[in-house]
Amino acid sequence: MLAVEALVMEIGRGARAERVLRGVSLTLEPGEVVGLVGESGAGKSMIGRVVLGVAPPAARVVSGSVRFFGEDLLAISERRRRALLGAEIALIPQDPMSALNPVLRIERQITDVMRLHLGLGRRAGRARALELLEAVRVANPARVLRQYPHELSGGMRQRVLIAIAFACRPKLIIADEPTTALDVTVQRQVLRLMRDMQRSAGSGVLFISHDLGVVAKLCNRVSVMHAGRVVESGPVADVVERPQHPYTRALLAATPRYDRPAEALVPVPAELSRRLWDEARALDGR
Amino acid sequence: MAELAAASRPRRRTAALLLAPRVMFGSVVLAALAACAVAAPWLAPHDPLAQDLLYYFLPPFWSEGADPLHPLGTDSLGRDILSRLIHGARAATIVAVVAASLACLLGTALGLAAGFLGGRVDMAISRLVDIWMAFPPVLLSVVLVAVIGTGLAAVVVAIVIVDWTRFCRVVRAEVMVQRAQDYVAAARTLGLSRFRILAGEILPNLVPLLIVLLTLEMGIAVVVEAILSFVGLSVSTDAPTWGGMIAEGRTNVNQAWWLMALPTACIVVTVIALNMLGDGLRRALDPVLRR
């Protein structure tokens, strides 16, 4: 369904350009949950943004392709992209506190995407919004619809954002660190919720996270990124149980687990990280 | 070496900004204005008050029937427009420079007192500023001139009384900021007196800001002078001022539009020049904006 191939991107122009993606490839099939793991700066969020077509203006695709059901997402018109976004491809953003418009009621923020793509009227939109909020287990959905974002907790807002993402039953959902900004207890509920929603809607999810532990629980396959490269990928069980790449091993050692005390965590060694960065830059051919 | 280069870079950028078009334009216009003000009697081709009732409403040089002796034409009493404009520049410049400087002096003194002494002095001065700002400035200056009497001095006094608050507020706020900074604490630990700190440490840091405010205030003063002349409260009616010429021109605008257009153009160009200069200086001198 989604095929990213040998994607090379840089930010800025000329001599000051900085490579952010160095030949990334990954695929995602309908109904599949694929994890994209790495530290900040690895380029994982950039991939999500490129797929959505909302990369920062300074970013430029050097080579490679992004295909969605065979359609080249890098070459489609603005109009075609707007038709896809929200309907076929949706985003669950990182920070629920800022992703909802503070001056609009929740009802409008859930229904507008359905009115735009499904042509629902006001009444049908509200009914469907109520269903969605029930599906994401929001208590008293009718009341929430009338509320403004500042009246909701962070976990509630993330539920609303999940409801928005699944509103048009999109084929592909980009989840960009959807639980990072939440408390640990809320995190677990939201993850379970996403899993349920994904199963009932049959959507494919690209799950971007820095937390290998979370990815291990949720995903079918995983790609580990560092310095704009995919250093290792494969079925979650394989990658977690038998990591091949030293960076994956280091990342695993740095990931909290229920069977391991916090003191046993080892941060990724600076020496390894530096060596990998040098290796990656050497590939740039400049 | 590297440190030296880094230190000289901001200075070079300041120099470049001082040569920016807006600063150049503003400076040139101001220089021309100042030249007119100083050399008005020699620059003006005629006595600005000399009437010649045989040749009234002569058109300016670009229209038919113009008289080369009066390149910008004559007014309803046959007085030479160019000469009156040049002498008007004199009144405008005097008001702009004197009024703006005095307003700056008064406002800065009170602002420094409020910001540096704090406490009751600050309370009293801040209240005063609040009350002052509640009056519409135009009406206040009109009332003041009506009270003080007409004449350039009265106009200057009115502008100072109305506009000192602009300087006071900004200086007070800036002193508060500066006072909290490390170098003042350092000066204190060195045992410098409060006055020495104020004059030697804080005031120099305010100078760029004051230059910018002064430039902008000069533009305001030119307009206020024109307003007061326009409503007939400035200099006695026959002494040429731009505002007075505009008021006369307004009554005859349907017969001779240029009588009103020429002095209006003078004021507009002056005001825009001063604004550009102030804006350009702010970009060049304000370290916060430059960053």
Binding site: L85, S98, N101, L116, Y148 | V231
Partner: protein, 337 residues
């Protein structure tokens, strides 16, 4: 605090503020030199006549008594008699105020429409269009309303024959009017007398534009800055990935957030605009309270000045109330907080 309670508190504060303004105006006007009676009597007037006139207007009493008489009469709608126009002050103000209100409303309408469109256009089309808009805003803002009024008078004179716009009065005196109120524009609009409306609009557009232009620049600059800032927020990214068009995002998602700071500033600037009517009405001979004010000051017409100062102060308070109200309506966090 609930918005209603807030509003009531603000309303309750209005009378004391007005009283303060009245006291200050009264004191300032009485301690200043300048004799209104001397201004209205011919140079060689007999001493006894001057004294009689002085007594007639109560100017022979001490200042406290004068103030007591005046403030006692005000609540009954008696603001005294204008010395220079020899007419009831309340009547004069009531006659002129609607003209000024219509002028101010027209000006704010122009400023909001023009400034808002410029801001949206600038935020929509970054690049060359934005740079041009920025330059225009800088020039427009540098020129005060007084100069704009002069420039517009000149423009009207120079364009005469192509576009004919009157540069004085409020309505063509040859038109036959049978108005019930002094809100000429609103009344004739409601009654469908569109010939009169067209004439009123032709008269009001230049003075309103002169008042509106500096405010237009302020609105355009602030609103554009807030819009650009809002466009960088996460909720705008969210709107983009929902598939909304750029126009829908600016108008439907970013604009309302950007409006909050703009409304506050517009409110402050609107009081300047009301103050600006003094000169602009004078330049366009537009018969509002600003037009009355200058002559009242020049003639030392104390009762009229007092009445006008109070009217201006009341207008300022009203404007600030409306701004606070719209601020609360725009920002849901304030409404419930």
């Amino acid at each position: 605090m609930s918005p209603l309670r807030y509003l009531l508190t603000r309303l309750a504060l209005a009378p004391p503020t007005l009283l303060g303004v009245a006291i200050i105006a009264f004191v300032v006007l009485r301690v200043v030199p300048g004799d209104p009676i001397a201004m209205m009597t011919p140079p060689g007037a007999i001493e006894a006549d001057v004294a009689r006139l002085r007594a007639l207007y109560g100017l022979d009493r001490d200042i406290l008594t004068q103030f007591a008489i005046w403030i006692g009469a005000v609540p009954q709608g008696d603001f005294g008699t204008s010395i220079s126009l020899r007419a009831d002050v309340l009547g004069l103000v009531a006659h002129a105020l609607p003209a000024t209100i219509e002028l101010c409303l027209m000006a704010i309408l122009i400023a909001i429409l023009a400034g808002g469109s410029l801001a949206v256009l600038g935020a929509w089309r970054r690049g060359a269009v934005e740079a041009a808009i920025d330059a225009a805003i800088a020039v427009v803002q540098a020129i005060p309303d007084f100069l704009w009024a002069l420039i517009l008078v000149l423009a009207a004179v120079l364009l005469a024959g192509t576009v004919d716009l009157p540069i004085s009065m409020r309505v063509d005196p040859r038109l036959e009017l049978d108005n019930a109120t002094r809100f000429l524009l609103a009344e004739h609009l409601l009654r469908g007398r569109f010939d009169v409306v067209a004439d009123l609009l032709a008269h009001i557009v230049l003075p309103a534009a002169a008042l509106a232009l500096p405010l237009t620049a302020v609105i355009a600059r602030v609103l554009k800055a807030s819009l650009v800032e809002a466009m960088a927020q996460d909720y705008v990214l969210m709107a983009r990935v929902k598939g909304h068009s750029r126009a829908a995002i600016i108008l439907g998602h970013a604009l309302r957030n950007a409006l909050v700071p703009t409304v506050t500033l517009t409110g402050v600037q609107f009081t300047f605009l009301v103050g600006g009517t003094v000169l602009v009405e004078k330049i366009f001979s537009y018969p509002g309270i600003g037009w009355l004010a200058i002559d009242a000051v020049i003639n030392r017409d104390l009762p009229l000045i007092q009445g006008l100062v109070l009217t201006f102060a009341a207008l300022f308070i009203l404007v600030n109330l409306l701004v606070d109200l719209s601020y609360a309506l725009l920002n849901p966090r304030l409404r419930h907080g």
